[in-house]
Symmetry: C2
Subunit: 214 residues, 2 copies
Amino acid sequence: MRIGILGTGVVGQTLGSGLTQLGHDVTLGSRSATNEKAAKWVRENGPHARQGTFADAAEFGEIVFNCTSGNVSLDALRAAGEANLEGKTLVDVSNPLDFSKGFPPTLTVCNTDSVAEQIQAAFPGAKVVKTLNTMNAGVMVDPALVPGDHDVFLSGNDAGAKAQVSDLLRSFGWRNIIDLGDITTARGVEMVLPLWLRLMGAFKSPIMNFHIAR
Amino acid sequence: MRIGILGTGVVGQTLGSGLTQLGHDVTLGSRSATNEKAAKWVRENGPHARQGTFADAAEFGEIVFNCTSGNVSLDALRAAGEANLEGKTLVDVSNPLDFSKGFPPTLTVCNTDSVAEQIQAAFPGAKVVKTLNTMNAGVMVDPALVPGDHDVFLSGNDAGAKAQVSDLLRSFGWRNIIDLGDITTARGVEMVLPLWLRLMGAFKSPIMNFHIAR
């Protein structure tokens, strides 16, 4: 499958590498078509990896992943272009963390809204699915890094898009996929980041994940 | 031990019953010394159970539990009286849920502050410990209701108070007690309520709990 990834940070690169290793063709998109981090990633990830602008990546992808910081996601998606997102599954992995006042960061949107809802409202032709934002990038593509049962959450308005994302998640090894409901449930998963960050502090490791025992 | 509980709702009554069953003496406090719900609870819970005003309960307790709604906790604690809380462990179980605009509720404080921090700031002589707010009341006093490993979180500035609360939690059967750090970490556990409520909707049951796999 052709996949466009917006964002060249750790999350975008790690998801991109995981997807190329599964045989998908991935374009990593950034503001610049010649972004240095993306160029290095292309060199390291073989023939399925390429780079381009946000618009190049979004146009390329049958599915598009938003791996930009939640604070700039709307800007990045506008640069990607509404037409390049139309009718596509748009997987939103972002978190709106603001580190400008130090640790712990705060969220720039929460409680009555979420990044995922803002994206769905701004791009009504895209099928936004929020997922994977509640864990470390390494765990996203290799859930076996964390022992035992643990879970990934899904939020979105389109059942077909959620099924498509679930298939991708299963190909990474995910077994416990919890469908929370429509895109407004993304508030819940975005608001767990402050706890996640404190847990990372308590355990001195990001290799952990949430599980709902029941 | 003598324990004062502020709040006569499901959480206060359930914690009160659990504590009397462990042999503690419990006063359930409310605005009125003759609150009907508290009177019924006293009749049903035997010789270790009594009722009174918020001030009666706080004065009685060697430990005090805040089981009022997070939106009115500061008022309830002012009614309890600063002198009655001085030097005591004050266990804050509250959540600042606002259902006034329907479901899903929002939080009246979050992100840059928390109820627990507000309480600690208003009552600096009390040793505030946030815990147990991330689960159903029945699970608080009987963690075995949920199968498998699952966790309870602790936030607070006073190590001795956290150790005292941990002992109480262990007497309820808790094995996985995660100390997140100081009272500012309460933001994290208060902000998971929106996810908890959506999980309850997805699973159609409140008998579940968070576990951090690692």
